[in-house]
């Protein structure tokens, strides 16, 4: 990989000076300077809420800065809308794709353009789109409807959309968050080929590994301020970057005690279930989790993970198959039965499923035991006992909040997750189903949540960890299953990344091993 040579510095394309942006209660960007050279991949690194996306949304014309100047090729520019930025050659690929699902790839690319004038002669434009895709290794069928495409393909459409508009500067906001490992490889290839054609790329990420792999220089933001301005990657290390990002030393190794797994707690046998649209989401899936082990479930988002968690916890009905918990058949039993039998659930959607946002911390933590002593009985809740219980949990789970009467909607992501974990773990569950427990949390909070999960493993729970963060799965799990289109592709004991990657894109383990053997 090429790195920028400081002595023969390339011309500066974008220069942002003293950018200030305030949101209610937050200073998102505090006099931020940022420079982008021609033909480089410049990583913008920082924790969630560090102000990376804000800064780039300003550059892309979506937000207006309260103070500061933007220079494009040395000339001051002022963007009032994304359209202005696109016209100036700056395109942004957002985390949430801006694509119209019911329209074709070509239609999405042509949206908002002056050409074609009136009649959509899509045939002609489809060819153009295909040619452009060919040039940058962005293969996607121009006539396919967006909803038919995988997330990776949709991302390619987003990039094509910007290239079609002649973007010279491409801003990628957390582009790898939704991709499988092989797709990430493809994306990196594309980014490199774009740089070769003289385009410049800003790569927003909070994942050190990727930043180290793809970028030439890196700017680090912490709480809206620059802690490292465009340092070449050659001159830095992973530990150094982590320190700049978090503001303290970060341990990358979690303390995990060797543990002998006990008897089978959860056994899922050949289940089928439908998703919200009535389409099959789980297609004959089987797995088991034993006492004292963390079993990871890897997979690209939308392959049935959410449905599986819902089926196990009783939120969704299966159409066939069995779910057995501690020897008892709990198939299609109501949630309440599951809770009584010791199933805990840390759901993906913290604010709508995991908590009741307008209720206090107290009300949220007693949701599963409000009708049992000491907190209450069938008729009344003992408010004093409840708030004492909540205060105990607040102390032992380090929930940082002035009072347990605070509505949980006011909590940060990390604290909210601690409230959920406090409720779910304090009941000493026999089975804990955790879906994306660290998504969107910053590095410090992630560490805390992961420690809690491991402590629960030692306490003898069976834990099913559903996550899209491979690194997390590898460091926490004793075994990893890979799910693809509602089926288990195979099981990995040794954390073989290559195997996991292949299975995530739909190759069953039998085929992988057959190939490896031959």
């Amino acid at each position: 990989m090429e790195h920028v040579n400081i002595s023969t510095q390339k011309p500066t394309v974008v220069s942002m000076r003293g950018i200030v942006k305030k949101f209610p209660g937050v200073l998102a960007n505090d006099h931020v300077d940022f420079d982008l050279f021609e033909g480089e991949i410049h990583a913008l690194l920082g924790e969630n809420g560090a102000g990376k996306s804000t800064l780039m949304n300003i550059l892309a014309g979506l937000y207006k800065a309260e103070a500061g100047l933007i220079y494009l090729n040395g000339n001051p520019v002022n963007f009032n809308s994304p359209r202005d930025a696109i016209k100036a050659g700056i395109g942004m690929v957002h985390q949430h794709f801006m694509l119209v699902p019911s329209q074709t790839v070509t239609e999405n690319i042509l949206l908002g353009l002056e050409d074609p004038r009136f009649r959509l002669r899509l045939r002609d434009y489809e060819q153009k789109v295909a040619d452009l895709g060919e040039r940058f290794g962005l293969h996607v069928d121009p006539r396919a409807k967006i909803w038919q495409l995988s997330v990776g393909e949709q991302q390619r459409v987003e990039i094509l959309k910007m290239l079609y508009r002649g973007a010279q500067v491409l801003i990628m906001d957390e582009p790898t968050a939704v991709l499988a490992p092989t797709e990430i490889e493809g994306l990196f290839k594309t980014l490199r080929s774009m740089v070769k054609e003289g385009k410049s790329i800003i790569f927003i990420s909070h994942k050190l590994q990727e930043v180290l792999e793809i970028s030439d220089r890196v700017t680090v933001l912490r709480r809206g301020k620059v802690t490292a301005a465009g340092i070449p990657l050659l001159n830095t290390t992973r530990e150094e970057l982590a320190r700049l990002m978090v503001g303290r030393e970060v341990l990358f190794r979690l303390e995990k005690k060797p543990l002998q797994a006990g008897e089978v707690i959860l056994s899922v046998e050949n289940i089928r279930a439908e998703n919200d649209r009535g389409l099959p989401a789980l297609n004959g899936l089987s797995l088991n989790v034993r006492r004292g082990e963390v079993v990871g479930l890897a997979g690209v988002a939308g392959n049935g993970q959410r449905e599986l968690a819902e089926v196990i916890t009783g939120l969704r009905k299966v159409t066939s198959g069995r779910i057995v918990v501690q020897g008892e058949d709990l198939t299609n039993q109501p949630v309440k039965i599951g809770i009584r039998r010791g199933i805990s659930h840390v759901p993906e959607d913290r604010t709508h499923v995991g908590t009741a946002p307008n209720l206090s911390i107290t009300d949220n933590v007693i949701m599963k035991n409000y009708n049992r002593p000491p907190i209450g009985n069938r008729w009344v809740v003992n408010a004093i006992a409840a708030s004492k219980y909540a205060n105990d949990l607040r102390n032992s789970y380090e929930i940082v909040v002035p009072s347990v009467a605070t509505p949980v909607r006011l909590l940060s992501g990390g604290n909210l997750q601690r409230v959920i974990l406090a409720r779910e773990i304090s009941s000493q569950p026999s089975l804990l189903v955790a879906v994306q427990p660290t998504r969107g949390l910053d590095v410090g909070a992630i560490e805390g949540v992961q420690r809690l999960l491991l402590a629960q493993r030692e306490a003898g729970s069976a834990i099913l960890l559903i996550s899209e963060e491979l690194e997390e799965l590898l460091s926490l799990s004793d075994r990893i299953y890979v799910i693809y289109e509602g089926k288990i592709m195979g099981e990995v004991l040794d954390g073989d990344l290559e195997k996991i990657g292949l299975m995530m894109t739909g190759t069953p383990i039998e085929k992988i091993e057959a190939k490896g053997g031959a």
């Binding site: 994304p82 119209v100 329209q103 949206l111 959309k161 649209r277």
Partner: protein, 322 residues
């Protein structure tokens, strides 16, 4: 009871539904549900009748109806797009507003006497085709013929032109359209206006062609609501809307005519001998509308039928999702 005559009259009365439904398709495709059609149609019917009475020229009447209903629609546009109020509530109030306005301003019009109507004619050659000729091309009002031309054009516009593509994008995912510089608010105002204009023409079609005159709220007799149901039935597609409109027009006519003869299919006609049965028949289109609206309000069903994803949701820039 002559089937050809029923179908012929059905096509004429279906034209009213056709205009109203297509107008609503435009509004809903842009993401704005406008339940005010009934009110806008009444304003259109009343305006066209009274303007024609004054000027003696039905074309000026039609133009006035388009303008008046279009203006009323902008009340809904302002409330639901700019003020971002609930579209159902706003649409209902616009319906009441239109109904009330037309009743007050149309006071006395029912006894105003006869006016000159829009021309009717038969199309040479085409009217000679067996069955289709008499049904579609014989002694129909000029508006009926305009209807034949307009629905395929609207279909083409929505699916095969650049502005049509923008219209669909704004109704499906306004944030994506906005990010590419399409003015979501302007387009929504525009297509709500287009919807109003079509509703105005639908109203004028009643009072100047299909059943001439002004009969206060019985002029439309709830056809605006049937149009709301037809939009869902048509899955927001003008071609299917045309099919549904003509079928419903014919059904309306059949329900009227079936009460005429003493014998029906060789047995005594129950609808003739007991007129109360007729009320049940007349309920059919409205019952259908209620059923379609119930089905259409179910999220899963709407997705399956391809409802515009942002239908009913105000667009607020910078808000996640839609």
């Amino acid at each position: 009871m002559d089937l050809i005559i029923i179908l012929q009259a059905g096509v004429a009365s279906g034209t009213v539904l056709l205009f109203a439904t297509i107008g609503e398709i435009f509004a809903e495709r842009s993401g704005v549900l406008n339940l005010g059609i009934e009110g806008m149609m009444l304003v259109g019917a009343m305006t066209s009748f009274s303007v024609t009475l004054k000027t003696g020229n039905p074309w000026i009447g039609v133009a006035a109806a388009m303008l008046a209903a279009g203006l009323i629609s902008q009340v809904h546009a302002f409330i639901s797009i700019t003020l971002q109020a609930d579209q159902v509530v706003s649409g209902l109030s616009v319906s009441f507003l239109g109904t009330g306005l037309s009743l007050v301003l149309g006071e006395g019009l029912s006894k105003a006497g006869t006016i000159s109507l829009l021309p009717s004619f038969s199309v040479p050659l085409l009217s000679q085709i067996p069955v289709l000729g008499p049904v579609f091309f014989t002694k129909q009002s000029v508006l009926v013929y305009i209807g034949y031309v307009i629905f395929p054009l609207c279909w083409y516009f929505i699916n095969n032109t650049r502005p049509g593509m923008h219209l669909r994008a704004v109704g499906e995912y306004p944030a994506a359209a906005d990010a590419l510089g399409i003015n979501v608010y302007r387009l929504r105002y525009l297509y709500v206006f287009v919807g109003g204009v079509f509703a105005g023409v639908a109203g004028a079609t009643i009072s100047l062609a299909v059943s001439p005159g002004w009969f206060s709220e019985l002029t439309t007799a709830g056809q605006g609501w049937i149009a709301v149901g037809l939009v869902i039935f048509a899955q927001w597609n003008p071609l299917r809307a045309a099919f549904g409109s003509y079928v419903f027009g014919a059904l309306r006519r059949l329900i009227l005519d079936i009460q005429g003869p003493t014998m029906l299919l060789g047995v005594a006609n129950p609808f003739y001998y007991n007129p109360y049965y007729g009320f049940f028949l007349q309920m059919i289109p409205y019952a259908f509308t209620i059923i379609v609206l119930i089905l259409g309000s179910r999220e899963a069903m709407r997705k399956r039928m391809g409802a515009p994803a942002a239908l009913g949701l105000p667009y607020i820039r910078g808000q996640r999702g839609l």
